[in-house]
Symmetry: C2
Subunit: 200 residues, 2 copies
Amino acid sequence: MVTRNPARPGRRGHDPESVLSIAVSVFNERGYDGTSMEDLARALGVTKSAIYHHVPGKEQLLARALDRALDGLFEMVTDPRAASGPAIDRLEWVVRQSVRILVGRLPYVTLLLRVRGNSVTEQAALERRREFDRFVSHLVKEAAAEGGIRADVDPALVTRLLFGTINSITEWYQPSRGASADDLADTLLTITFDGLRSDA
Amino acid sequence: MVTRNPARPGRRGHDPESVLSIAVSVFNERGYDGTSMEDLARALGVTKSAIYHHVPGKEQLLARALDRALDGLFEMVTDPRAASGPAIDRLEWVVRQSVRILVGRLPYVTLLLRVRGNSVTEQAALERRREFDRFVSHLVKEAAAEGGIRADVDPALVTRLLFGTINSITEWYQPSRGASADDLADTLLTITFDGLRSDA
DNA sequence: TTGTTTACCGAACATTCGGTCAGTTGACAA
DNA sequence: TTGTCAACTGACCGAATGTTCGGTAAACAA
């Protein structure tokens, strides 16, 4: 049996992992459709054809990246901390955890949020994402029913705006500069749960 | 002098305006780079070459659409209602007005928010958008300095999250179903200014 | 009926696209 | 030194891309 050797023989250079991570960063700069295999090759410092030695093709590159984002989100759905306790507390945990995943897997989540369903790969990712949205939406409804969040706003609308706020982080966040994931989550929860206005 | 006659002679069919509006809706479905001139032709019910009778090319179509969104935003910057009074009130007005423009020019603003700078056209649009962001950012700083919004959060971060929330509306809003622009702005302001939590 | 204006078609264009393949290069182990 | 394995090159393919152009069809005015 051939086990993958970490220090394998042969020429050293790229492997599927490094190709993926560089490809995703280019996808996020120029957009998936706006990125050619030539663009990727240039960013990798190799020829176009070399990419096919590591990865079956462009769309597989996208599929692997999207799975990486979605797998993170679905770990949350099955976590016991999302299943018991007051809904408002579970919602807070899900929000905080979402920010953590978004920051921890920033390039992959960024790519996911820009998918529009142009291929079967993208449509499958969209469907998984919708499933996550339903999970969160249900949680917000519970929090509203338990009186944890204000009763004068539509829970479905709250869900959209709340996760719109979270997802917008991908538009500007840079891991090097700025706050950590936890600090960011703190600020976001303060604003969304207690409001911007002073006093209140 | 030749004035453009509204009921002009000749074969009736598309004009630059109808081409633009249909093109933008296709751009938003498939993404600008993911849309071919064939796609546009199919949506218009004509041949590829017919499009060039109305519009100089694909990129000009994008440029005109982006200007339509940006012109709306900059009308706000020069409005006297954004220049006098307590900063918190001006901020509230700008937020409400932003939602109105976003809803009123939904397809154009949606397109603008997805631009990443792949061409000079896109770069120019990004620069105008950054200028608008600076205007809003300054307003939030004023509101913080005047004590209108809470002092324990970074104004720059507040700006990003606040407009992240607003811009996320483009991800789901459908003019036919759901709330009007003003109702939507009311809910958004309630949540962002007073918070989700009940009581408070 | 004729002339003018506008909208459009169909064929072709140069270029770029994602992808294939046979062969070469370089690092390590034996 | 030789063999092996992975990484890579360069030439190439068919299809799709945005755009051009010469000619045509339809609506209106005269």
